[in-house]
Point group: C2
């Protein structure tokens, strides 16, 4: 039986925590949170900001983030309707985490490139 | 042409930064970093700690993290050889980020469950 403590433990399979964690712990969700941290964006702007994301993946990921209350979607009653995405309060709380991961990537770019060369020379 | 600034920008497709970011910005890598943050672990211990991870996914993800210099793999010359995994210095720098994401998940468990119910009642 799942106890209350289990339900908040991301290491437990099939827990609500694991499910919610997986919704944000993926590159597309984190990149969306990263760019929405700077400003409110329309769908096409998001697609332009996050190079390489497919229409389908952006749609799916935004829908999941909206469902989880991380991203807020506003439809403006213009013709045609203007649809904008912004972070919710809960979403904005992830910014420090995301920025930390981006900063880590930049900081270790050269070190990781070197580590890869060593690894590939040994195991490749 | 890719400039030096581009190469450190995770929003650029095919950049080294995006590739390295994607290596850690996924649930399995982050869960591995999370549990190795507590202690050095053997393969079977890691598999037990991270419920639901397949043998293949754990092998692949560990190999990627080792290649990127995030995880260090030690083979002890015992019979049979004992293989242990621990975080490197660069890997340990991700712990605050990972812990922040786990804490965020726990903090918003009830709020996200409620947000999902509202979303599903409206769009489902």
């Amino acid at each position: 039986m799942e106890t209350e403590q289990d339900s908040g433990d991301v290491t437990r399979a099939h827990s609500l925590a694991r499910e919610i964690f997986a919704g944000v712990a993926n590159k597309w969700a984190l990149l969306i949170i990263n760019v929405l941290g700077a400003r409110t964006l329309r769908f096409t702007e998001l697609r332009d900001e996050i190079e390489g994301i497919s229409h389908k993946m952006l749609t799916q990921t935004l829908r999941g983030l909206e469902r989880d209350g991380v991203v807020h979607r506003t439809v403006h009653a213009t013709v045609p309707p203007r649809v904008e995405y912004r972070l919710t309060g809960a979403g904005a709380e992830l910014l420090a985490t995301v920025n930390g991961m981006c900063a880590w990537t930049r900081r270790h770019l050269d070190g990781i490139e070197a580590a890869r060369r060593r690894f590939d020379a040994r195991d490749g």
